[in-house]
């Protein structure tokens, strides 16, 4: 069974509040976490379910658009919706998020427009949205770099006096998302060092999806990933990453610590990348079908649906509306992504610098002149 090779420390206890069959899990160990979700109503759960379904639909549409040649690349998040939506729903609006590049579910919760999320993958923009509008930073493609940005941002929050004020509308924390592979990067480790010695209000949220492209977690660590945080003196916890309530609960705990001045937390969300690393990847070369089947039975969306049904929070009319909403999202993506044009050529020089730079200005002018002079030639060529 493939999971034996991939789950480093899979026998390690993890925080779980809902079992794969949708039943609530009640143990002495998870009592404090159960308290953190006790206030969530059926409507709250349905909102999480909606986020997860729309994220899955977004994922499937984006994958299809790439296959049709409409996106250069796409990094699938399928299977990680609970980790992303559960953690994202625990955030306060003023909290700041640093995603990696697979956090489509976090962006869904934060309200980043679905079309904007695909500009980078379309090759139309290197970013795609205004980070200030949703307190959500741009995707970062260099693995783990954003762990330091998050820590520095949190150090700024400390200097702004927005930690431990006791006002839930003001206390501010930062969450940085990264994967199991990123924990091998120096920047993630340096981020933990800087966060620890500064007691910075940052949550290191690692989604261990078992695979860094083709390399299993055993190629990254000989200890369970969450143990890495402990070495830095950072409180660390492993959570069932396919259990949206457990992810919400551990993130809420970590955020409370950060907001109140208790410093950083390391969360390992134990989950699974059901799709490929990106649309350029072929997982059949390195993992077997049995492993994928094992995790398919633990699909986070099925689990929340089972919980909703078990607790009479499921409503067929609502579910039909959600289906229609997902259809509309798919239709909008198919239409609007195709409509995204290319920026004008001169845009390649925009915002390289804030202030004039002689060489950039010269080259911009040169290219404009060249294009003007050769415009006729090109149309002749096309005519030929």
């Amino acid at each position: 069974m493939g999971t034996e090779a991939t789950d480093v420390g899979s026998d390690v206890p993890l925080v779980q509040l809902v079992a794969p069959d949708g039943a609530r899990v009640t143990t002495a160990e998870n009592a404090a976490y159960r308290d953190r979700v006790a206030h969530l109503t059926g409507e709250d759960l349905r909102r999480m379910y909606r986020d997860m379904v729309l994220t899955r639909r977004f994922d499937d549409e984006a994958t299809a658009l790439q296959r049709q040649g409409e996106l250069a690349l796409y990094a699938q998040g399928k299977g990680q919706e609970a980790a992303q939506v559960g953690s994202g729903r625990a955030l306060a609006p003023q909290d700041y998020v640093f995603p990696s590049y697979r956090e489509h579910g976090v962006l869904q919760v934060r309200g980043v427009d679905p079309v904007d999320r695909l500009r980078l993958f379309r090759g139309e923009d290197h970013g795609g949205w205004d980070p200030a509008a949703t307190n959500t930073h741009l995707y970062t493609l260099v693995i783990g770099s954003q762990a330091l940005h998050a820590t520095g941002y949190a150090m700024g929050v400390q200097r702004d006096g927005l930690v431990g004020t006791g006002d839930p509308g003001r206390d501010t924390a930062v969450v940085v998302y990264f994967g199991d592979g990123a924990t091998s990067q120096g920047d993630v480790n340096e981020g933990l060092v800087f966060a620890a010695v500064n007691n910075a209000p940052v949550v290191f949220f690692c989604q261990n999806n078992q695979w860094a492209i083709s390399e299993p977690t055993t190629r990254q660590a000989r200890v369970p990933i969450y143990k890495r945080g402990e070495g830095f003196g950072v409180p660390s916890v492993r959570v069932d990453g396919n259990d949206v309530l457990a992810c919400y609960a551990v993130t809420a705990e970590a955020l409370e610590r950060a907001h109140s001045g208790g410093g950083p937390t390391f969360v390992e969300a134990f989950t699974y990348r059901m799709g490929a690393h990106t649309t350029s990847d072929d997982p059949t070369r390195y993992r077997d079908r049995a492993e994928e089947d094992y995790w398919r039975k633990r699909d986070p969306i099925d689990r929340l649906a089972a919980l909703l049904r078990a607790e009479d929070a499921w409503d067929d009319a609502w579910a039909a509306e959600l289906d229609a909403e997902a259809e509309a999202l798919g239709e909008r993506l198919r239409r609007e992504v195709r409509e995204l044009g290319a920026p004008p050529t001169s845009a390649m020089f925009d915002e390289v610098y804030a202030t004039p730079h002689a060489q950039v200005d010269e080259e911009r002018a040169w290219l404009a002149r060249y294009e003007e002079e050769t415009q006729g030639d090109e149309s002749q060529e096309v005519a030929r």
Partner: protein
């Protein structure tokens, strides 16, 4: 004008002090910059005056220093990062080139990166490995960064203030061999305009143009003195910045002199001198009496201290190049 004699290092200290005083969101970050005052004492006394939250002794991790400075910039802070020595900047090279340099661009101008990276650089001080290098071309080849190097205490003072005030990331290269040179500095002068963009003619002349920056401006000026004694009038252009390069000032000079020699400590191969030579050739082709020549380091790792004076561009090697230019 209240000029006072200050060392090059002290002029930077005073520039940092002025920046800390004028903007409370300016921070200094680096290894040993607090109680110790930095290994070259450039930040001496600043932690005592501005506190540990503004003059920050960081963990010993250069990528961490620059990476957290980026995060602080996203929160509206302006960090001045001290890298202890030139050869130790490379752990931060990734953050500088893939993140710092591109953040504004990839956000379409929504995110600003007013970060200064101070790097003591260059040789001639008899140091051990990794303590004498000149990595400016590596940074100048990265769009999004400004790369500057002062050559006088006054410029050191003016340029560090301008760098801190700049909304763009600035690599501020400090010629460590010049740290203890002294000159008049006017601390009350209004922040000088254009010091991050414009070259300055350090010495006017008519027979040959010597182009230099940072540590080699002094070398070029000494060569010009020697040439004057032989009856040759050399003009010395101090570039100040290697990104951008103020080509109009260089071109104007070479059109008058017809000859150009570029001097830097960094290896000649793929260096700033090649860029200057190509541009001068393109714009001054009919004014040139000789090919543009370059004097600098060799395409070998920076050598052991016992050999560094044979590696660095000496006055004699500059004079040799000028002779070759004149006799072409």
């Amino acid at each position: 004008m209240t000029a006072q004699k200050l060392t090059f290092a002290r002029a930077i200290t005073e520039g940092l002090r002025a920046s800390l005083e004028s903007d409370e969101r300016v921070l200094l970050m680096g290894e040993d910059i607090g109680r110790l005052g930095g290994v070259f004492r450039v930040t001496d006394g600043l932690q005592k005056d501005f506190g540990e939250d503004r003059v920050v002794d960081t963990p010993l991790a250069e990528s961490g220093i620059v990476g957290t400075a980026i995060g602080l910039a996203l929160r509206g802070y302006r960090s001045v990062c001290e890298i202890q020595f030139d050869g130790f900047v490379f752990p931060a090279f990734d953050q500088i080139t893939t993140q710092l340099a591109k953040m504004r661009y990839r956000s379409r101008g929504r995110l600003e990166m007013p970060v200064v990276i101070r790097i003591p650089y260059g040789g001639g001080i008899g140091a051990v490995e990794h303590h004498s290098e000149s990595p400016e071309a590596l940074f100048a080849h990265t769009a999004g960064l400004r790369v500057v190097s002062p050559s006088t205490p006054q410029d050191a003072y003016d340029m560090i203030r301008a760098a801190v005030a700049s909304p763009d990331p600035v690599i501020y290269l400090e010629p460590k061999g010049r740290y203890w040179s002294k000159d008049d500095v006017d601390l009350d002068a209004a922040p000088a305009e254009g010091v991050l963009d414009r070259a300055r003619v350090a010495r006017p002349g008519s027979d040959v143009t010597l182009v230099a920056y940072g540590p080699t401006v002094a070398t070029a000026l000494k060569a010009a003195d020697a040439l004057a004694a032989e009856g040759t009038s050399a003009e010395v252009v101090d570039l100040r910045a290697v990104s951008p390069i103020d080509f109009p000032t260089v071109v104007d000079s070479v059109r008058r002199t017809g000859r150009c020699v570029v001097v830097h400590e960094a290896p000649v191969f793929h260096g700033v001198g090649g860029e200057v030579a190509a541009r001068v050739t393109e714009e001054c082709f009919y004014a040139l009496e000789a090919p543009v020549l370059r004097v600098g380091g060799f395409h070998a790792p920076y050598p052991v201290a016992k050999l560094e004076h044979d590696y660095l561009p000496s006055v004699e090697r500059v004079l040799d190049a000028v002779d070759r230019s004149l006799s072409f």
